[in-house]
């Protein structure tokens, strides 16, 4: 008899099955069109939503075998017409990196996220919002800020984020650095339940804030489905540059439930 071997893909399958099982209440939920791009709109006051993230990163090449599956569990609260706050209860994941001799599960951090909507993409020329996130864990502390822009044209929604992140890592938080990234997404609403589009992600690591590493660009399609009180959006991204130290493929699935 073959010995059972746990693989990250099983977790993805489990999450998908759980998501389908909970789809029972015929009520719409506030939903995301993108997984890497944030939208400028915020949740209605008084609403509460649970969002679960799964991000699978892999480099299947012989030169650098790498696999990781990261999970985030977020509870999102609509506070006012323009302000929402979220708590990331736990960021944890599975990592398989022979080069760094890392294998197994680990808890990474928890976080608080605040989004303030400035202009409405439906009634103003351009929707906009500002975003701040504070993340803390046993060996990491991060501050992240985002400028979010959104343009709606008919059933098309275009989103753009510029992100600056400062991170301190290590046992005594001795390693510090940053990252500048941008993401761009377009989504078309085929029906209120089903949307398709594409996302682009551009990242530059700034180790020690003293130098900029090579730019890495990812691109890929996205798809979003909403039903009842849940929704799910998935984006597989492929590296469009040729940076060997970065992963080749990453796929993010977010599924949310409203209460």
């Amino acid at each position: 008899m073959r010995k059972f071997q746990f693989k990250p893909i099983y977790l993805l399958n489990l999450c998908l099955v759980a998501m389908l099982l909970f789809a029972v209440d015929p009520v719409e939920a506030g939903a995301r069109r993108f997984t890497y791009v944030y939208e400028a709109t915020t949740s209605a006051p008084g609403t509460v939503e649970l969002e679960n993230w799964v991000t699978w990163k892999t480099s299947p090449s012989e030169n650098r075998r790498f696999n990781s599956v990261d999970f985030r569990h977020e509870i999102e609260f609509g506070i006012t017409d323009h302000f929402q706050a979220s708590v990331y209860l736990a960021n944890w994941g599975y990592r398989e990196d022979p080069d760094a001799n890392e294998h197994g599960f680990s808890y990474q951090s928890s976080a608080i996220e605040l989004i303030y909507n400035l202009t409405n993409p439906t009634t103003d020329f351009l929707g906009s919002a500002v975003y701040a996130e504070i993340t803390g864990g046993p060996e990491e502390f991060e501050l992240e800020s985002k400028a979010i822009l959104q343009k709606n044209i008919g059933r098309f929604v275009f989103g753009y984020n510029a992100v600056l992140e400062a991170a301190w890592e290590g046992e005594h938080l001795e390693e510090h650095g940053g990252e500048f990234s941008q993401s761009f997404g377009v989504s078309y609403e085929i029906s209120p339940s089903f949307l398709v589009g594409a996302e682009l992600l551009h990242e530059i690591d700034l180790p020690g804030w003293s130098e900029a590493e090579d730019s890495v660009v990812y691109g890929g399609p996205n798809m979003s489905y909403r039903h009842g009180n849940w929704w799910a959006t998935v984006t597989p991204l492929v590296q469009m540059t040729n940076i060997a130290s970065e992963v080749d493929v990453q796929t993010r699935l977010i599924f949310g439930f409203s209460f």
């Binding site: 015929p26 009520v27 719409e28 939920a29 506030g30 939903a31 709109t41 949740s43 209605a44 609403t47 017409d81 409405n120 993409p121 439906t122 009634t123 103003d124 020329f125 351009l126 822009l149 343009k151 709606n152 044209i153 008919g154 059933r155 929604v157 275009f158 753009y160 510029a162 500048f180 941008q182 761009f184 609403e189 209120p192 551009h202 530059i204 900029a212 090579d214 730019s215 660009v217 909403r226 540059t241 040729n242």
Partner: protein, 119 residues
Amino acid sequence: MKLCAVRWVTLGLSCLFLLGSCQSDLSDPRKAYPTASAVSASSKHGQSADLATLERGRKIYTTSCTECHVARTIANYSVPEWRRWIDVMAPRAHLAVNDRAALETYVIGASESLASASE
């Protein structure tokens, strides 16, 4: 391939503004979703409602409804069609009785206002 960050920022922002400047009259927010005062001034339904209710209705239409889907252009549907859609969508958006009434007042008033403007 090395890519310059400034070039990507410029490209992203240029795309957004290009798309914004190409928008048609129907996606112009002032024409697609008339203000409360415009509805009050130009529709029978709007004249019978107070301005605060119309403003509340417009806010719900452009924020609560768009949490799940893009806002539909009001002029694309008739008053009976809007009444049917509100019956279907209001429970899904968990709208309170007052909010549903404000939404209906605004949407029906705006639909009449846009119909009379196109005649």
